[in-house]
Symmetry: D3
Subunit: 290 residues, 6 copies
């Protein structure tokens, strides 16, 4: 179960509110690289973790709980950046408040509305929403929790790698010192979380976790295709050479090679449609039937 403290994990301050930056921050809340995703992903992985020892469950719970606080920081940052957003379409620059002018350089507030996420103005009353920077709501199909802890750790590395890439892009786009400071903290946490999930893979055995899942008897797979890079260039030209098709495989269980793809199967034959299946008569066995 869970507890809260009213204070934020790290300070969030905005000197020059900017509704366009509020929009960009939404990607870090409700984007697929965002914090709702990692928060729920780590929770669902923890709550469904099956294993004799509970270390992974425990490790996941700590970090999942930390991530709620990150959503909270970003939601606060969005609300602060929307504080002075224009509410009408026809205000002139002269009528606009000074803070709007600071960001807009004297242009008409209408321009600022053009760049806003319209739901910020119309649906949330100038507050954060669980959507991305183009207004798409987060959808929980992005919570990856496969029941295989090694696959999940790689999903987590991915989430933190795209998450830190996003945080870096936001840092580069930002102009407010408070926002840069907040992002420098979140970037550091993403650094750690990348490390943490890779360390977990190491703790599980490193390359020995491969191929994932390691509980399937490899003698049952068609092993002649298990370490072969297949080229599909129509001209038959060889694919580029690289670590991915030369030398021992990463799991140490094979040797990489290359082959040109060729059809090993036949042309598929589905045969005629059945009576009563709603097809056209011509698709059926006896096209002349009523």
């Amino acid at each position: 179960m869970y507890f809260h403290d009213k204070r934020l994990q790290y300070p969030v301050q905005v000197t020059t509110p900017d509704p366009l930056f509020a929009r960009q921050l939404q990607q870090a809340i409700g984007g697929i690289e965002g914090e709702i995703r990692v928060c729920l992903q780590y929770f669902f992985q923890a709550w469904g973790a099956r294993a004799k020892d509970h270390k992974f469950r425990d490790m996941l719970l700590h970090t999942a709980t930390e991530e709620i606080g990150h959503i909270e920081m970003l939601a606060t940052a969005v609300a602060l950046n929307l504080q002075n957003a224009p509410l009408t379409l026809q205000e002139t620059a002269a009528q606009a408040n000074p803070v709007v002018n600071a960001v807009m350089g004297g242009e008409r507030p209408r321009h600022m509305v053009e760049g806003m996420l319209h739901q910020h103005l119309l649906s949330s009353g100038l507050a954060a929403m669980p959507v991305n920077s183009d207004g798409i709501p987060f959808d929980c199909s992005h919570i990856y929790a496969s029941g295989n802890l090694a696959a999940d750790m790689y999903a987590n590395v991915t989430a933190e790698a795209t998450g830190r890439t996003l945080a870096v892009r936001l840092y580069n786009a930002a102009h407010d010192p408070g926002m840069k400071d907040m992002l420098s903290f979140l970037i550091a946490r993403d650094t750690m979380h990348q490390q943490q999930w890779l360390a977990a893979i190491e703790e599980m055995g490193g390359p020995a976790v491969l191929p994932i899942p390691d509980s399937f008897d490899q003698s049952l797979e068609k092993q002649e295709f298990s370490y072969v890079y297949m080229g599909t260039e129509a001209s038959g030209m060889s694919p580029p050479e690289g670590r991915f098709n030369t030398g021992p495989s990463i799991d140490g269980k094979g040797t990489f090679s290359t082959m040109q793809s060729i059809p090993m199967g036949a042309e598929p034959m589905l045969g005629p449609a059945r009576d009563g299946s709603g097809a056209q008569r011509k698709q059926m066995d006896d096209p002349s039937a009523p």
Copy 2:
């Protein structure tokens, strides 16, 4: 640009069609772990790959092109498994065709309809659809192509790890020898593809790709939090010990440590709602105003 051959990459045969297995195979077509996802993911990563050398673009194109053929194999398998599915709800076992009986063991076809993906019967005319095993259409927000090739390679490892986990589960559930054979091929290809993307990370420099993106100057992040595992247990009890909070970090640039989370920020203060923002009067500065 692209070319095709009418034949399949690998043989697809079904001896005992089973509409319930057709439904399960859908997960490998339109599930988030499925083949539409990897196919389009590798294509979009290739088409957007920015770099001086084109090796990664080329490598991705070969594998993306191979994956179209995997969707094709699975779509064929679904259609073959649906060949004799019951079309009505009230047929008796006696009326049902022999192949249905082979799978059902003499029970009423109605049971088989109960287990089917209903869209197979009603929407596709007994053929594959780009949906998962519960009928949810694939949605392209799952095409991860971040513009950062290292992040993308981890996304690809994840896709192939969850993909092989799914293929193994389907292999275990399957009862038809043709289906087991087809899956043993797809499992082998997933083995290779896991290896391939990990090899690509090695080719990019291995741990040197970390933290992702490696183009952000780490002196700008709050480095005192970059290698710290944060505990959130309310009792203050220490988190479990593991590779993820002891020893050198995986990127070799820090040393893991542990600390208990504490609020470093203040309670957020958003202040009153603005006039004209659609809030309740009581949320505003002057609640007595009209």
Copy 3:
């Protein structure tokens, strides 16, 4: 604006309620081939119809309004079919009510729950929902209203062709005489609506509406590719011959021919990633920079 009459457009009666058939009927309500789709599609086409004469707007409004009544009929049919659905998982056949037994042939009600749309039981209290037979909510991206009336008429033919195909499949699956009767009416209306939209195309000029949109000056398109069927078989083998690559084109403005696809463009060159774009250093111009 709109009016209603409490009575249904056509009688809806259910003698033997069947929750599995209730589930199948959902496809005709909230499926992409269903009635919510055509209803809203015709309304949005009407409300946005731009033209000097209002005939098409008027024609669309009549049919859109009729379709509300079809959703109503189907929603009523779903509710009637759910009337006696089992509410628990462990009732025995003996405890179950007689109507359940009539459909189930003495088996345990648990089987019937297994086949139900679970949201019928848990979310709607045994009534219709705006979802398809696998529970996916209808989403208005399927309302096709392009601003081009000819394109819209073809979209409508498609909707009624897939709609009638679905209605026929439901008719074939149904066992209740009341349901067969209701569907025989809806099938007839789909027959008419297919005719109606094709007649509208004829009224607009038949083949002269082509290519759609007809307001684009064809001399601006690369006309050497306007009536050519392109083959993509890797072996270079010719594509099948048919009406689609022989003889005069359907619009009478060209002659069909066939050619093998070849690359006319170059390999795309995106060049290195920019500094500050969140890519890996190796994707950039100067990989050695910090």
Copy 4:
């Protein structure tokens, strides 16, 4: 920021695991009436609450934090119910494990798979997912946080009213005493939460919060239509009489009355399509132009 305790808020025990009930419980996790929804809804309302006093923000944070623990309880219950689910399609009853038999009464495990959420077996490795009982992922467009606290309180009453209705249906469907006990706790919490949000409306002023938002000057609305029930029966027959069209209005600011709807506007005239807008030539001003 947030903290956790490894223990559950309330005991969760399952004596007879039942994968069909696991599926039904999913509605309470990822359904629109479920716990992810209320949890994130209360958080986003709290994080965006604008007002001079912070009481509502604080009140929301406590309950939002409690709700994380409810998702956790339900996720645990789902995993426990899936513990012994069949993994294959062809196991016979004799091969099946005893617990499966306890629920299935000796029937083939295939039947149990037919009733399962297929993603439980194929995607999550027999654990909970953030989806509803038909497998649809939760999508954050259902997080209602309007920036108007009175509107939000009614949204919360709605969420807890549909949530308790769902919990009651699950209680009625359940057969395991541990599950009934867990649900009796969640039902009690839903009782409280309904009360709590209604009490919050009372604290804001009760009927004085109406009409929502109360910060819009009612003299600007067309007040002759503000308390009139409009009938749309084509026959002109009067609508039913009730509290909703007789007596003083609930907000005390008007008197209910009834009128038959009539068109007060004209037929809309959009005029011809513009050149270059992609319409058909016939929709344009000069249909004979090229």
Copy 5:
């Protein structure tokens, strides 16, 4: 069944077309607070209303039918506002038509395109779509019809409270007198509809409808938690005091109190993963097995 009249329920006039306002109006059509939602919500509640007396069904049908006319008014308003939207990206202000200039104040039409919903230009041919102001299509999971009429009435109050809040925001943003007039009518209708659903709750018994559903025997819920506000502050500090935790409960069946949340359950124990479930070997009972 249903009928129409070509004329609008209320006049819709636009003097200065503004494509940015067209975009904002979309929220009132396809947003979750919009008119498609209430229209279909009231219809599905009516069509599924189970009760001995039909008053609620009848009441709902009248208002649902009225709402179709509201979508029609708004769709007309969007089309009129898009009448002169720029079709190209490079037109200069001098080339632009005078009406565009009236809104833009002499700036380049490109700016206007930047603020537009792009689908208005590219997909609908300058007409309304069933999407919100950021282009997200309406999705019918927002049609709340729970089978419990009291819960549904609260859902309707919520819909009209958020709907009126939105209409007020649009009124404040609007600059065209015709648009302000139309919105003043819609705001009045939202006032009435809020009243109407609250009156329906009063007619059902007022507080006696609580807790919803009132058909569940409250002695079966854990009543010691039914009227308790639970605090989750980690420091143990008491939650704020308010009507929601002091005095008699709103339903008159209990007395509010406050307690600090504590774990009453144990740490969940899922145990090892099963063989054949696709987990890692280390998650299983016998990690050394092949």
Copy 6:
């Protein structure tokens, strides 16, 4: 199975990169009228085509394969248009690079960011995504493959009619000669594809394919309603006259006529809610029960 060639089907060149046009091109990639849709639609129709002769399957495969190359061309065009997009919000026009200035005419880059698809900057690193011009990901429910080849051909005509309409709008909006050239090729291919699917209908028998499906015995439909245009005007005024309600029907099997809609059914009677179904007590048979 499939092969590729690194070169593009047709040249793609961009002289003046424009991130706003990049955004508009996205509609042709991930919009419902776009190339991912037709590509996957033709593939799924081919892979599921049931018929004695394989001509349609073959025909579909060639064109599906061609369409992959169209997505590739457009993805390349998007990336090229994003090449110089501004990465920050506060750059001045003076700091901006010359190419940005060429498009912006000396205005602040901030304006350009306002018009961008934000995910281009934040999520894809300035590359194409499988989303539409407002950022909505493509979702595979738009892959129409009904199992009825005639219905599918009309779906394909629709896709190419809306697709060409979109391409024409993009051509009109474009300012770069390379983009106009690329679009002139894609428009030509859309011309052909419209023709091709209409030719396929002719090959199937032209009007004889109607009504779709033609395998349903028309004597089973309520034929008195099969060729009747139904008017719904409340005043009883006749609907407009046109080809759609006069003369022989298009399929030659009936004669069009007109009638005013009237209710033929009764008012639906659902009866009271059942005990244990979660309704309010008042909806049940015995409201006084506990």
